[in-house]
Symmetry: C2
Subunit: 394 residues, 2 copies
């Protein structure tokens, strides 16, 4: 009866009380009064949502469980990049161990799918990729992890990195990453041609960090849109952060992004312009969310909780009405699944039984109260309860 | 031995381990190896901070413990104001009961001082003021609450409100409130003259809600500065929200605010321009913070936790270095005490023993981790532990 259970008296997305039958890890039926097969979970009216989707984090660089890191880093992006690369070994930020710690913490908060950018650079080679792949494989039964080979320190500007990116993808990283084609790489055409060439060669999707503000970011975005369309990669490209979409006057890009099938990832960053979630979705753009790096040399904030991230996205986008707050949670669940192309996702018959139960009167209450009382189910098995994952972190 | 205890092995503000002796509710000594008088609390290296200061909330309007309120309110400020006033009785938002619920929840999170704006309007008269005063008096031994008589629905635009404000102050509200002199009141001179006249008549400080953006808000701010200086009210005026200070080109006001001794209250609102905390403090302006309304008809967010508020202020102001994150917590403690004129505040000999103990390696970790493991002491007595206040909420 592996992955077979009955969730009795749960409320999918806060709706009416019903039962969810799970057989062999998939949702086999939804309706009141279903007959129990396997283990029975008494929902007692708890809300059921599909597994949360952490669509953008950096599993390889958190410092969970390490001595507190006193952040004295300079204010520029390049300060943070250089500081991290130069101190990673000294600070014992072992990607295998740290990624397992964070992934299991995320799982305990209810994330059943994680996309992690993982550093690839000439100082550390594939140390990160190999470590996170180890975690991905070890935790395969409890959480789905995919890796983005990410040239954090630059790709063309640091000779040898492109070859390492190629090797990371050959080794099993699932997605091609990229980074600020103008601001960091100084060669937007060269950078994006190289990123999309890797994607074509390996048949992989793309996820590009685009911090560039205003007109510069909008220019890079246009180049990404052009390549996505030219190569027929609609539905396989994500632009992360995309602060330029929060600048005035860039609304013309929304329809172009929708037409090119490019998804946007936001953290709801409070101190930067951000992509406007409601307007983008209204234009037909898929929007997903992530916690980005947590507790690392970049920033001390974050706990890996995608319900808290929904709250932060809601606060940043001034989502107050119940239907608006629910949008924030949809972004942190369905939006991520759609952006990452997760198959069989959702609370429908035939979907994988990746389900989180939380007590709340409404979806909006679930988001704002962020109760730690969570039951997390992955393909029909309980993988975390009350903040404790079924596998102990290292 | 009332209010007499020894806190052994604590770390004030994350510094070296020491002891804090409390006698008759006040800090009597700080140093290693003090002799125990009264009850001994084993700090085990926990960080000690002074009681958190909730410098801006609305105790009278939360819906804690009531059925979930489905928010379908319109987007304008006036939509929220009217919706609340018209539905308050129907929704059973009883100010006495609700203020006690919120105040005890805040206390459990570590707030030992609360400034609450309380609605005064012609529909409800002094219902709010009387209810919150009842809570203030009932909880006098565990938390200090002060009331701002707040003309939420307008003062001059709603005849009869000014007289009610006068009555609220006569009845015991400690502070004179005001609201958007241009945008809501349509008569900035008239409104501010009336507010400051009440302050003069009753000998009370002033705390004005100023949501007005950009140039309009800056104009209202100038009028507030002029009156504060002319009446010698330096150190007795707070401007809350002050979104206009986050607009470009308003930096010239910083020095004027410092010179006029006007404090600024921020929530670190993620979806609005906000007063820049670091720049204001550098200019000599006192900055405090508050949660504003929580779980009410305006917005579902918020839990009354001023440590979480410090995190939100930190995120909004992009405070990442340890010394910067500490600033966010200083704003939520000392800043509030200074803005509200709290006497004997802090972790010094002679101060009231209002102390919160939390396990953390550093102040920055305390802010970002927001552990619920908190011991809250008010004038030398334990008033909350692990999220449970010593007095049960109604």
């Amino acid at each position: 009866m592996a992955g077979t259970m009955l969730l009795r008296d749960v409320r999918p997305w806060g709706g009416a009380v019903t039962d969810i039958a799970v057989v062999d890890g998939r949702i086999a039926g939804i309706g009141a009064g279903l007959t129990a097969q396997g283990f029975v979970i008494e929902g007692r009216g708890r809300i059921a949502i599909p597994g949360l989707v952490e669509a953008h984090t950096h599993l390889d660089k958190n410092m969970l469980g390490l001595p507190w890191y006193r952040n004295e880093v300079g204010p520029r992006l390049i300060d943070k990049i250089d500081n991290e690369r130069l101190n990673k070994r000294r600070l014992d930020i072992d990607p295998a161990r740290q990624s397992a710690r964070q992934a299991l913490g995320s799982l305990a908060h209810g994330s059943t799918h994680i996309r992690s950018h993982v550093d690839v650079d000439t100082d550390h080679g594939l140390w990160g990729i190999e470590g996170v792949m180890q975690t991905r494989d070890r935790l395969r039964d409890v959480v789905d992890i995919e890796l983005v080979a990410f040239p954090q320190s630059g790709m063309l500007v640091r000779p040898g990195t492109l070859e390492l990116m190629d090797a990371a993808l050959a080794a099993g990283a699932e997605v091609v990453g990229g980074l600020d084609p103008c601001a960091i790489e100084r060669d937007p055409k060269g950078h994006l041609d190289a990123v999309f060439a890797l994607a074509q060669k390996h048949g992989r999707p793309v996820d590009i960090h685009l911090h560039e503000p205003g007109e510069m970011g909008a220019f890079s975005m246009e180049l990404i849109i052009e390549r996505t369309r030219a190569l027929g990669m609609q539905g396989r490209v994500v632009v992360s952060h995309a602060f330029c979409l929060g600048a005035p006057g860039q609304e013309h890009l929304f329809a172009a992004l929708a037409e090119a099938g490019i998804a946007i990832m936001t953290t709801g960053a409070a101190s930067r312009p951000v992509p406007p979630v409601v307007a983008l979705r209204a234009a037909g753009v898929v929007v997903c969310a992530g916690n980005d790096g947590i507790r690392d040399t970049w920033s001390p904030y974050g706990n890996g909780d995608m319900v808290e991230r929904a709250m932060l996205v809601g606060l940043r986008n001034n989502l107050r009405r119940d239907d608006e707050v629910e949008v924030a949670l949809r972004v942190c669940t369905e939006g991520g699944a759609q952006a990452m192309g997760v198959a069989r996702y959702g609370l429908d018959v035939g979907c994988d039984a990746d389900i989180v139960l939380m007590p709340a009167e409404s979806v909006a209450e679930l988001v704002v109260a962020r109760t730690p009382d969570r039951l997390v189910i992955k393909r029909g098995r309980i993988v975390a309860e009350g903040g404790v994952p079924s596998i102990a972190p290292p």
